[in-house]
């Protein structure tokens, strides 16, 4: 027991004395959360808009005022002709423009109908579509306020609720994915590198020619990374809660339990990688290619699985992170209990048992 303790302490020395490992361990979660939370956000906010107002009457200015007060748009300097609009688009300062024709207000009152033109930069079609919707909504609302008493005889009003994420917080959907990714990096990549380093340095030879049980080498390697992964998990949860205002709905205990299970899956993968590779680079590459890419692409975390060709959907079933992703989404974002995720948990448990068994079996007690 004392041997194991001293071995684990040695592993922590390795981690805390290597700046690169430390950076990956504690820099990565922060960078990923900040990156996905702010930079790669799919939310549309603070979009530059320019106005080409040829009317300059009360109505056009009232509409512009509403746009100005909306948090979605930032009003940029107005323009005086179409070619200037083009220039602004090309400079990238604005993503949309609103054009009022010369007799906007007059037309509205005289003919009961006026036109306004929305021009959006469709180089990014999703954003353009969202901007169009926002602007139409602002104009529609204004129109409704102009004639508050008019009743359309038959009216269907759809009320929309975006469940589990009512405020459309874009951070929500990626956090489970980021957590899975971090576990893959820390538990799979770093652990495999840590074992292979012993082989590369030749220290494995000494460890094997000692009374220390070879299997204990694996356990002593795995435990520190289990602890470090959990610390990372807590960092991500804290960042999500306090930096991105994500509410963690489900039971924390369940979340931790499921996470420990998934960390053990990743650790088993890491140990497996270490027993089939001989150099640190190979271990790193193998972890990245075989483990992280599928996690990124085939768990539904960035690209929805439903849109993929059948074959990829089938392949995704053997990727452990897919199940973890489903579990975390259910527990953390929907607040569901164990009764809703037991199937996924069971699959994950089965995979872990298999991988761990394989890793232990593949571990070489000799050199060749």
């Amino acid at each position: 027991m004392k041997q194991l303790f001293v071995f684990i302490r040695k592993e922590f020395y390795h981690v805390f004395r290597d700046r690169r490992t430390l950076l990956i361990l504690f820099g990565l979660p922060v960078v990923q959360i900040v990156l996905f939370g702010f930079a790669l956000s799919s939310e549309v906010k603070n979009i530059g808009i320019t106005i080409f107002d040829q009317a300059h009457d009360l109505n056009s200015e009232q509409i512009v005022d509403r746009i100005k007060t909306s948090e979605y748009f930032i009003l940029k300097e107005s323009v005086n002709n179409y070619s200037e609009i083009e220039d602004r688009f090309q400079e990238g300062r604005v993503k949309c423009a609103l054009v009022f024709p010369p007799n906007f207000g007059a037309d509205l009152y005289r003919t009961g109908q006026a036109q306004v033109q929305i021009i959006a930069d469709a180089a990014d079609p999703n954003t353009a579509k969202i901007l169009e919707t926002y602007l139409s909504a602002i104009i529609g609302q204004y129109q409704h306020e102009l004639n508050p008493n008019v009743k359309i005889p038959y009216q269907i009003v759809p009320t929309v609720r975006q469940l589990y994420n009512e405020e459309q917080n874009g951070s929500l959907s990626f956090i489970p994915g980021v957590i899975a990714l971090i576990f893959m990096i820390v538990s799979t990549a770093l652990t495999s590198v840590a074992v292979v380093r012993e082989k590369e340095m030749g220290t494995m030879e000494i460890l094997l020619v000692s009374p220390f049980n070879p299997i204990m080498v694996l356990i002593a390697k795995a435990i520190p990374y289990l602890v470090l992964s959990l610390i990372d998990f807590i960092i991500v949860l804290l960042l999500s809660a306090y930096l991105l205002d994500v509410e963690i709905k489900g039971s924390l205990l369940l979340l931790f339990g499921e996470s420990i299970l998934f960390i053990i899956t990743c650790l088993s993968l890491g140990l497996l990688v270490s027993s089939v590779t001989e150099s640190q680079q190979a271990a790193m590459l193998f972890s990245m290619m075989a483990m992280m890419l599928p996690t990124l692409l085939l768990t539904g975390f960035i690209f929805p699985l439903e849109n993929m060709p059948k074959i990829f959907q089938v392949i995704s079933n053997i990727i452990p992170s897919k199940y973890y992703y489903i579990i975390v989404k259910a527990v953390m974002l929907k607040g569901l209990g164990f009764e809703y995720v037991w199937k996924e948990t069971l699959v994950l448990l089965g995979m872990t048992t298999f991988l761990l068994g394989l890793a232990l079996k593949k571990f070489k007690i000799r050199l060749a």
Partner: protein, 314 residues
């Protein structure tokens, strides 16, 4: 009873295409300092790895402390000390941490066997807070030896412990081995340096996975059959070419700043050298009779082996 007994041990790599160790047999007595002398790639490391249970032999058997290297590998691992050729300690741990770690892994404490490593450890103790990666080659070897000794092994395997170490540290290292031997520890050491062979009780000359000769260093030198001569000239390359072409010369090879050669028919030394000087009147020619060294014996055996192999091939 001998501490290490090796019977016809054979090991091949790459599905038998590379013969690393070929039918090797020898035995090492308790408390003996036994040297495996041979160039890089001779099979020394493979042999050590089989004896330390890290590799399984293709055929043959061996015992360490009377225990079989295949069956009783657990027990052997408990008892022997092993220092691999590559410096194998944790570079990012300090001297103290390394020693403490290995002591614990071997189920012992530094205090328990301190007397065994004391002589060596006091030399590196002033730097005990320094990381192993920042140590000089000599200090690294001393630390590695301390770590290999900390559990009081019955047999110590040292794989090229002095490779890459300066001359002074090498000498110190061998002095340490002698004092360890006096404490009754059987030591097997491999080295590519022929000058270190003289410091062993017995040596095995190994080449291409085969042992060419096993004896005490003195006997190996004594067994050199011919008289050995050294030659030197201003143009040493020309001299080498001419001696190789000389009918009377049996073998000739470069050895440091001299050429060493033997002749086919030994006779009166002075007559012989005069005759050679007459046949090859080169500038600054210097000829003398010398005592053969282990390296001369090794080169001779190697040469004979090659001839034998060629003859077998025909």
């Amino acid at each position: 009873m001998s501490d290490v007994q090796v019977n016809s041990l054979t090991k091949t790599f790459e599905k038998g295409s590379i013969q690393a160790v070929n039918d090797v047999s020898f035995s090492v007595e308790k408390g003996e300092l036994f040297g495996l002398i041979g160039p890089d790639g001779a099979g020394k490391t493979t042999l050590f790895r089989m004896l330390t249970t890290l590799l399984l032999p293709d055929s043959g058997s061996a015992t360490v402390n009377g225990m079989d290297i295949v069956k009783d590998y657990r027990e052997i691992r408990r008892r022997v000390g092993y220092m691999p050729g590559k410096f194998s300690l944790y570079q990012d741990l300090t001297i103290e941490e390394n020693l403490h770690f290995f002591a614990t892994v071997f189920n012992t404490t530094i205090e328990e066997n301190y007397n065994l490593i004391k002589d060596i450890y006091v030399q590196i103790e002033p730097f005990k807070k320094r990381r192993a990666g920042k140590l000089s080659g000599g200090m690294k070897q001393k630390l590695a030896l301390c770590c290999a000794l900390i559990h009081k092994p019955t047999v110590l395997f040292l794989d090229e412990p002095t490779t890459g170490v300066d001359v002074v540290s090498r000498k110190e290292f061998w002095d340490m081995l002698k004092s360890l031997k006096q404490q009754g520890i059987t030591i097997l050491v491999s080295t590519p340096y022929m000058d270190e062979a003289n410091l062993c009780d017995r040596i095995a000359l190994i080449q291409n996975g085969e042992i060419m000769s096993i004896n005490t260093p003195e006997n190996i030198v004594k067994s050199f059959p011919n008289t050995l001569y050294a030659a030197k000239a201003k143009n040493i390359y020309l001299l080498l070419k001419r001696l190789e072409a000389d009918e009377e010369v049996e073998s000739c090879y470069a050895f440091g700043e001299y050429l060493h050669f033997t002749v086919k028919t030994d006779g009166n030394e002075n007559d012989l050298l005069n005759a050679i000087a007459e046949r090859h009147p080169l500038d600054e020619l210097e000829l003398k009779k010398i005592k053969p060294t282990i390296e001369d014996a090794f080169i001779r055996l190697m040469h004979e082996n090659t001839i034998k192999v060629t003859a077998d091939g025909e």
